[in-house]
Symmetry: D3
Subunit: 274 residues, 6 copies
């Protein structure tokens, strides 16, 4: 992780923090506190702490990622060189704001859906910000969600384009079963017929894409009556507004919104001379 932090610090600092170098004496020490401005599930505090550590400023106290914070809570306090604290401020806040936004939304949607189906999981997708996926997936995990695939090498997921290029669901699954025994096989289907073919041909997970909630529930029950261990993933056209409607029929509900359209949580930092 340190090389990522160094890369991110380089991005934010460039050749140097010209303002602090001019305005703040080299030997000034300070204490910085990151303060929460709205209720949330915390994520990214560990990363924020690492940012300051990388710059030589130590953590005095910190709240644990995954816990709830409310307006006014101090979630991280660091002390060290004033210049270091100012140099790390923006990156630390950027971690906490975005990751807490994702964790909070994940936790909220999970809670809402589990009222309907206590076993359902909310999952992320690969619709993440390029270069920042590991942190966005981590925030989903912290919020109680499932990260789903980190990369294309993680599991076999046969999508519509694969099926078209293979010439059908059966042939696509036949080819997929030649893959490593270590990988699960998931397939995305758009109608009940393809779902049944997938079930009959050994898919471990069936993703029902763009199904209406009722249709999804009905088909899911049918499939599970045939093979109880099959997993059903609902996907496509799912937003924070409609997500709970999919809970009855799905083992997993995946939505890109968690990472591509999330609102950040507001945090700020205050600094005091020590």
């Amino acid at each position: 992780m340190r090389s990522r932090l160094q890369e991110f610090l380089k991005e934010d600092i460039g050749s140097g923090d010209v303002t602090s170098e001019l305005v703040v004496p080299l030997d000034e020490t300070a204490r910085g506190r990151i303060i929460c401005k709205e209720p949330c599930v915390l994520a990214g505090v560990a990363e924020a702490s690492e940012v300051f550590k990388e710059l030589g400023a130590g953590t005095v106290r910190s709240r644990k990622d995954g816990t709830k914070a409310k307006k006014g809570d101090v979630v991280l306090e660091v002390k060290g060189s004033a210049r270091a604290i100012l140099a790390g401020e923006r990156l630390a806040l950027n971690f906490v704001m975005r990751m807490s936004g994702i964790a909070t939304l994940t936790a909220d949607l999970t809670a809402a859906c589990r009222k309907v189906n206590p076993k359902v999981r909310i999952a992320a997708t690969r619709k993440t910000t390029p270069g920042f996926r590991e942190f966005e997936k981590k925030a989903v995990l912290i919020g109680g969600g499932d990260p789903h695939r980190y990369a294309l090498d993680d599991a076999i997921l046969i999508k519509d384009n694969h099926i078209m290029l293979a010439g059908g669901v059966e042939e696509a699954l036949k080819r997929a079963r030649r893959g490593s025994f270590t990988k699960k096989i998931e397939i995305e289907v758009e109608n009940p017929k393809d779902a049944r073919t997938a079930l009959a041909n050994g898919a471990d997970i069936i993703m029902l894409d763009n199904f209406k909630p009722k249709a999804l529930q009905k088909l899911s029950e049918e499939l599970k009556s045939i093979r109880p261990d099959v997993m059903i993933e609902a996907s496509g056209g799912i937003s924070p507004e409609n997500v709970r409607k999919f809970a009855p029929g799905a083992d997993i509900i995946s939505l890109g919104w968690l990472t591509h359209s999330v609102k950040s949580i507001d945090f700020s930092m205050d600094v005091k001379r020590t």
Copy 2:
């Protein structure tokens, strides 16, 4: 840029696209089209095109970043190896979705504010996704906004913590003027008194932080009557909902929302065998 693309592809592909390697023949060729699903200002199409080029698939046609697209428009068409097109699909879409989201919001807010003040500029902040700033700032530019500082080395910007550590506005500006003659000096102030001191001590740009719109306009007029070339930046507590209220008094309105809470624009990709 190529090394960034390679890094992003590595993130998304990992050790290999196991699904396509199993399901899609090595010598299969295809044509892929990225299709717009909602009205927007395009951004990231150039990057999407580069993604496919990096994987060996050529661009057949592409829409220009900065132009408007509507639902159903084909914004990029590529052709080449089917596996290459599938391997690049997600990263290409992630670029276009996020960058178009930012460009569209920037263009919308700029248009709204310019009805009130035709010279005002909407500016981004450093509240960006770590590692992806260059693309988020570029999307702001494409949407007609001002990127503001890319990094801490770009301009001198004296913030509240700097003023506190320096012991006041006057002293902070005195120290800042020792900096390189190539840099502008901006200062963030929270009350009219500090703004007047900043004006008297050579600040090129005065950022009025968390001012009410009316107060901002009044103070801005006072400051410009004394030094017409001073620039006034409004910042703090500004969202897409209230941004236009700040237009009358400001040369620049900066808001983190453009990059930290933007909703992505929806695009999808269809693939056909060739």
Copy 3:
């Protein structure tokens, strides 16, 4: 892959090929041929070709990885600058020699075991040369084997130390099932009792470690009679000499030997002025 090739070339060339720079004129052109010195299944020819391409020398003809070669066969012919061909020679040969060694052994053991059990797979382990795993796993694939996990993020594999730290097979599996639904769960056990517990607690794959061939076959049959879709992996103490004894009872036989103790296949390169 290009950045790996560049890194490998840097390792082999250092600051420059001082010999060729002194002895071979800059504008001399040549043709180089890689010649097989013993029967084998080819692997690494694609990489060798890329090495020369990276240095500016083009491929005239090349044999396909995965095919069989015999002594005297030309497996790759390139042409271009004589200095480039000499600079790439060693790295190209190192790829072909090691990868063909792995592919050949994998193919031989697979053929031998399939005489006994036509569905068994020979699998590699993570006992690879640090930094070169992707190529060693690829050679296993080319030889008809299963690459098994590329890295610790690939699948859940509960080993003896995990079981001990979790306090038993049941508890370890219970914890593992909280993981992402995209991952298979494999567990390594050392006795029939643990194997039965693993079966009852949802393991997708059971690795029978250090079992005698007969005991393995018997237990495998018992487990499959209870849950036909469970996969049985034989591991521990398996070498090219004894591997076929494990074929009757196993779906997969994994052995580190494929990558940690393989003998290279001999190839050489001859160069002619053009």
Copy 4:
């Protein structure tokens, strides 16, 4: 070295050790011991220790590289976070297994050859695993061998292809002597006539390639009677079986086998909760 370790850990861990993260509590601490399973000369223990250090687990005790170990010996003991120890296990073992394999074979062949010629050196070649050469050469050194050239910039070594392209031994050596005075000049020859020409034209080292042992000894004596300080290297077609036959006539015997076909030494790791 740290950046290599980080690269290797990344290769083995990927985006995270999903098993340990699920099964082993974050605050569990443990002690891990690497145990030798067969007699050997140790190498790679220092690297294994660095692997754990990089992950935050400290060394309790360790055996020195270059010493002999026997079955059952604990060669490294570390303690720290249980997850860290499990995450480093495979890489640490891969270092020790491969490097000890090389050091042991080097030591064995050196001992055997020195019974015949007490001054002879066993040398490695550039037939190493791409990306891992520095560690393979180091293991040769630890085993008492000579690493020979690390890269093409290390010394001038004129091979058959160079001679052909230069138009003969004399011309090749004439060109080579224009090189930096800091480099030795070695030349590979395939017959006595070329060896004599090389001797007369200032070669520091003459490599006799593919000579029969008797012929090599005879020619070596002739050449040394003319210029006693010339060094004779035997190379080509040398394996662990026949190496000692070349000892009488050679100052150095080089064989690729040390690095391209070596059998790993078996080690395992046991972990205990602390």
Copy 5:
């Protein structure tokens, strides 16, 4: 900075310090002192100290960069492993020699010019050694100079080729004013007419290129009488010999000589066993 140091150490050490590894025992400890051989303004001592720290040798005492040193002064004393001190010696000295050369010349020229014009600044250019600019600019700063642009993204500087391609000074400035409000606009002109046009079109800084000292002073006075806050930079054909002639008319005098033709200051290192 650490990654730069590691890169530089790799450049200087390669695969290992073969001499010290052979000649100096592994456990030998020593004390090394860097000694100044001629009067200078020190720079690079901080970097030299970091070099040894990176190699595990601690700083005993060190002189502060920016202070004056004379022949015989010990500017840095480190202690630690003898091999580490020898391995870092050359890089540490290369930092101190080159950076002190730059700082000293900068300080000398600044002092000379300020006798004539107490407010004038000596500035560097982008004529630096590729890859080492951050340290050369830092040395200029330490010597009391202005670093000028670190990179093309730092400020808008319209040069002769830009003016030609834009079709004139007025058009070039008009286009430049569309840039970010955070950037100053500088323009290079070669005659009084263009300078006046630049002044009238909002240039923040006017660079008078290749003007005779008298002509520069006269034009500078004229321009400042119109807009007192405009800054005048003298550039082109300026060397240590003639620099002070430009002091009367300029706010800034920039010369490439500081970084492209500076003479290093001589330092040496002595080592004692401890």
Copy 6:
């Protein structure tokens, strides 16, 4: 080399050439010519050409490195996008200016010394600019000099500190002879007694450090009368002014001046629209 160029371009361009992006249209094409401003031996033209190629601008014609150029000569002409040419201008010129400075001084000193001793070589040292050594050594080669060691792994060079730590010349050489047979052994001595000991103990090269020219010549003749093939290197306190006095007694004269205090050669670039 491409990765070095990309790194250097990143250093010079940062996040973008803001001036050209504003002032020069995207589709403007141009022709750029690098023009020599003073007589010199060219070096770095190949690198300059690569810089433009990296940015997409092709070479129209170029002068060969190692040839002489005079004021007014066009040494490189490129054509392509105007923005690309402007973006590459500074880095290209920095290569040519510094490398030609080094090549020219090397050629001048070599010519001067060879009037006295036709076989003497001028050699560089490791006193180079961190990160730029490969190009500085290459310029020395182009100027007809000897690059000497590129890094500490190149040859064994026992210096004063090594001798002190080993306990004397004889012991140091004894230890050094245990090193790889591929490496030459050089030793630095400061008096005739140590030189004689070095000669008697097998040093390949003896560096006479800080000897007066006459004393050096006398000792050199004595040593060569004993062992004609020993090489004598003069070093220490040698500058362009006094270098030729050392020519009579030395095989090699090494001086840091070539790389640490060289004056750049002046070149400029003109651009024309096409």
